[in-house]
Subunit: 277 residues, 4 copies
């Protein structure tokens, strides 16, 4: 039984956020994650990497062992082990510790790109933070609810950039840096999203004219995702605001300044209306 109660306590501390211990563990984890990500960043700066090689190496292993311990504990106290392991968070937890061990197996200087890839993979542990952001859900719901529209929006933008990119490929040509259609589409995306690096830019008057049309298009259609999301969020918030329940019939949807339930006529708690007045 002791084992079972330890499991339960551990579970409430590691997975829960309601107990003081759970909250303290959460804060500790957030601090460790951020510290660990900062270490990886520092490690990528060559001058620092060479000078503090030893300290960074030790620090990285301390963090890795901490995350390994966390991972094993999570598996240990999780009631449904496999469902945790293959969940989004389970995979992120695994990716946080794997690269360090893979780095042990493969000798370091073998292949630069793979070596760098493995090291940089560690930074995906920043995704462990997502677990601690509850509010992400509200935005996510609004986004998901309009996902068809968002998909249509992106498809339209892509079709527009394919057309414009191809036209510019013909008009400007390789001599002005528009070396292929994919590269011209890249330019069209840079333009229509109003990023405008300037690494390639139209040189001919006709190309500049077509680019101007593209810029104005991009400037105007940015309104589309904003409009969609605003309308969704407005609706979403409206629901949340009017969701205080009538103490008599337990139904919601009353206006903010209502004194009586619109469904049964029972008197409403007027606390929420005082909040705003």
């Amino acid at each position: 039984m002791a084992d079972h109660s330890i499991k339960k306590t551990l579970y409430s501390v590691i997975f829960g956020t309601n107990t003081p211990a759970g909250k303290r563990f959460d804060v500790l984890l957030i601090v460790v994650i951020i510290a660990s990500v900062l270490l990886i960043m520092l490690d990528s700066i060559q001058t620092i990497s060479i000078q503090y090689h030893r300290a960074l190496y030790v620090g990285e292993w301390v963090f890795t062992l901490f995350f390994l311990l966390e991972y094993l504990t999570r598996i240990y106290c999780s009631p449904k082990k496999t469902s945790y392991i293959f969940s989004f968070y389970g995979l992120i937890d695994l990716i946080s510790i794997l690269p360090a061990f893979i780095g042990l197996i493969f000798p370091t200087a073998n292949h630069l790109t793979i070596f760098r890839l493995i090291r940089v993979l560690r930074i995906f542990r920043v995704l462990k933070l997502v677990r601690h952001v509850d509010e992400a859900n509200i935005l996510l719901v609004a986004l998901l609810r309009s996902r068809r529209k968002v998909f249509v929006f992106f498809s339209s933008v892509l079709v527009i950039t394919v057309i414009f990119g191809s036209i510019l490929f013909v008009v400007e040509g390789e001599e002005n840096g528009f070396s292929s259609i994919p590269h011209s589409i890249y330019f069209a995306i840079v333009t229509i999203t109003t990023v405008g690096y300037g690494d390639i830019s139209p040189q001919t008057p006709l190309g500049q004219f077509i680019s101007s049309i593209m810029m104005l298009t991009g400037y105007a259609i940015i309104a589309v995702p904003t409009g969609i999301l605003t309308a969704e969020l407005h609706h979403e918030m409206g629901i949340q605001r009017s969701s205080s329940m009538c103490p008599n019939c337990n139904r919601s949807g009353h206006e903010n300044d209502a004194n009586f339930c619109k469904h049964c006529g029972g008197e409403l708690n007027t606390i929420s209306s005082k909040e705003h007045g």
Copy 2:
């Protein structure tokens, strides 16, 4: 009669999306269109174009013949042939196949720009995709409904850029890259849409001051199209949401939390209100 029924079946498969066969044909068509567009893109990359010349050539003709077959079948089974041929989609379907045949007639290396133009024209077949996006309509309706305002917005932006461009032409002059008024207007558009390539940028303090005013203007008036569309979409969605019908009088427009029809007093089905509560 058999001919007539084949026509009808073909029509439902090619033009319709309700039958399983129609849906499968739609998916096939989308895949072929995207594959064909990707092939044109690859073909425009010189290294790939030279190395895989034969495969790309064969692939292009396979796609062209597929689209030719589709086009002829659409004409064959369309009840109003001429109205299909001269419709937006009919013309797009034609443009998808024409360039390949034009390329046959004209010898390739004759004139580089025309040759390139014809080849790139093929990419307009990406517009065939528009047929498959039903949701485009909702956005299109919102855009069309505010087209007068959008037109006014664009006219205003153009007037502003003409004024600012001309002022900068005087202030900066040819020595700083503002070689003509159209070119300066191009710069003004690049600035006011917040694209900012940096291919030309103001060099004199006065030019930078005027550009700063222009940037702040552009930063603020981006709110205009967004505001217009958001208000439209909000209204549009409001209509859709309140369009559940009264079982008694078949009229719609009830608020989300209404229990009784506002038109005839008949009791409403409260399923839709439970959906949100």
Copy 3:
């Protein structure tokens, strides 16, 4: 009396848009304004200016005399002459014709900048177009109604750019292109409005860090003007939509689907509700 009726007819044609003749005159004027602006643009392109010097010169004088005639007629048939002359449109009409005559008085090649200034001043005649855009009013009302907020917004942006610009002036210094505080503020405006020319960009890690904060600030506060205007426009449109009047008591403000006047109970014309259903 004949003179009086000619004046009235001319007034209705030139100032009004209700009569067919008035509409035709409006369209003619718009075409002439745009043609005249295009001519000035072409004139500013050196190669064209040299080659077609004579044609452009003649064209410009034809347009100027047309606008002079228009200006004199407007004064002649205007009931309150001085109020027209000193109105916004009156001044714009004057500016459209003045530069050409000033150009006659001053010999051309005297002083390049003044000469260029006078020639470019002609382009202000593009503002004559504003007279023909009635819808500009709706947007203008929404903008004017929130002018205090817009002013506060711009002041805040300026204060933020002054602070950030000065910090970057210290951090980056003259050696990285931040040669003075005004120049650094120019950079801050380029950054916060997300224009990003790249003519100057932070070179030190600290400067890049501060710039990143500035970019994220600019990315977030663009929401402020959009939010203000959207809320205003939404309110504005709501008023317009509910402004159909009751045939009984002449009062407005009914909801779109109302069958009976909410003020007096009289039956409403249901045409507007059919429009949407």
Copy 4:
């Protein structure tokens, strides 16, 4: 008693804005603050700084003594001296005068960066302007009310840029200017906020592809803060609009077109409805 009444009068003039004297003092202060900030800007331009060294020096001391006098008077007539001194405005007032005196103590040419830092610190007196912008509050309330969402939004953007920046660091590498992860994150922020300086830009096709995804992401998620704030502001304004009070029961929250108080049934003043009709 005389001393007490002087204090009170001074207090109403310096801290208040209701009396004519208080308003005049406010305007004077705003003019002096702006003039003083402009002087610091001019001082930072080397050519001007050398030529007008004496005048700028005198001007700076005049402004400093003015602000010193203002600061001492504020302390003198403030009823709660310490709470003023340690308030936000008290600290800003102190920072406005300190640098000049610190400049006296430390010899000028000692250390360039510190010297420059102290001089630029003076520009923080621009924050004294904030005291005079009452409307800042409305926007601030809307921002504060959605601060959790804004925080979540920024965290999400940072997580996205960390991931994308690291991927680009691997893909592009030092040879293309992506010298370290922090530097690559800087690039990711430049891209996702649509600033796009172009000081670094992706060179490999894969890097350009990933950047394109990032641009489209940034282009779409700009909708998030806008949507949040618009929904908040819309709600906020709705409250303000419906806050006209019933003359009978003094309660507010009536709709714009209501003729009778919804709380007590008393007839409402219909002035506000005529305002819009």
